[in-house]
Symmetry: C2
Subunit: 253 residues, 2 copies
């Protein structure tokens, strides 16, 4: 009971009832990480997760082992499970990878996307804008994720999309935390920064790969400032990070 209150509504029975428990546990934990239900550095245990998910520890261990191999969780032997913290340095490294992978995926999507897929993406973006205007950060972030991955899936490159998903999994907890912090401090998190979504949609409609690529890379810069503001609060190496970030902006994509 106390555990169920720690991780509200983590129960697994909401998922599609067919798959094996360890798969459902994995999916549910991924979802929780992306939704900000866990914060970076938070300590977890197998037993409490098992209870919250409504299963025994065995399927939880398989799910957690996998997430640990991906870097989303860290298992401290005989101690506890930790939601991986993201250093500012690691975030800059991942931004570099995001430019590469998501830029490529967007460009490929522009070559291969169908009209009906463009339509769906426009609809997702419309919903996103509504939540943004309404100031609903959580739902806006969820729709933003849907928007991006609807584009990436149009690249017809399943393994590329999987790689991007894994990247987002590492950024998810910190992104949720720091965007919520900035939002709570009254920063303009939702008021602007969606121009690149329009540019991206235009590029997809025009089937223009390089325009799609630059729109996606432009979009990354938006959340970047909020993230670094939060990440650098705990970091003493801010100078070297900012230097590296500047050199990254000058590097041709």
């Amino acid at each position: 009971m106390a555990v169920a209150r720690l991780y509200p509504d983590l129960d697994i029975d909401a998922s599609p009832g067919e798959a094996q428990l360890h798969k459902r546990a994995y999916d549910r934990l991924c979802e929780a990480l992306m939704r900000g239900e866990f914060s970076p550095g938070q300590k977890l245990t197998f037993r409490s997760l098992a209870e919250a998910l409504g299963v025994s520890v065995t399927p939880v261990r398989e799910a957690v082992s996998t997430l640990a191999a991906l870097g989303a969780l860290r298992v401290h032997p005989k101690r506890h499970i930790e939601v991986s913290k993201l250093s500012a340095e690691a975030y800059v490294e991942m931004l570099e990878l995001r430019r590469l992978l998501e830029g490529h995926a967007a460009a490929r999507a522009a070559e291969r996307i169908t009209d009906s897929e463009v339509e769906q993406i426009v609809e997702i973006n419309d919903g996103l804008m509504q939540y943004a205007l309404a100031g609903n950060l959580r739902k806006a972030m969820r729709d933003n994720q849907r928007f991006h991955f609807a584009v990436y899936r149009a690249s017809r490159s399943a393994y590329l999309v999987e790689n991007i998903e894994r990247l987002w999994l590492l950024i998810g907890p910190s992104l949720n935390l720091h965007l919520a912090e900035e939002y709570a401090q009254g920063k303009e998190v939702l008021q602007s920064g969606f121009e690149n979504h329009i540019k991206l949609i235009d590029a997809l409609q025009e089937r223009d790969p390089s325009a799609a690529l630059s729109a996606i890379i432009g979009d990354m810069g938006v959340s970047c400032s909020h993230m670094l503001a939060g990440l650098l609060r705990d970091s003493s190496l801010s100078v070297s990070v900012l230097k590296e970030l500047n050199s990254l902006s000058e590097t041709p994509a």
Copy 2:
């Protein structure tokens, strides 16, 4: 006993004795996949792997679950474990990703590599050439892997290197199989194709990122023909694959 003969020397006690059994099992299985100890499509079971590794099924399940999440293995529920087969289409998709990731890693390495690292890479390449001249395919492949990852590690981007490792894990079994096939058929697998290693070393010494990038991408073309020859043998979609491969070559990196 019969099992130990099926997977010779898979026993885990050779690994560094500190880590947990599921980590060692994972490392050992990765090694086996990269060394060609398993072939694509081969069927495995948890119990036989556990016996061969000298542990119980529990740590094996965690290792296999992780490898399944990465795509290296496929778990057929209530049936068996399968070493993932690589279709020609999937291989082309991965080549695209390899160009992106490994090209970027090589370019970054050229910016950040130290003189002593260049030295080490030259030494690895010398050893590789000896095995190539001696016709030792297995050891040449092992040293080729060492060569590539010594370069990538010089990029100082740990997560990028991990991503590349995961890519190689998916290609490993098929690469071992088809290169060995071609070699057995008397094809020139080891006689040529190492010019790009020299070009890469030169580029690293000159600290020339774009030269390093094109050397790495050139090197990928070498094994590519042997791989496609093997992969297309079982595939009926060869025409579309070759078309896609051609369009890939024309795409600017």
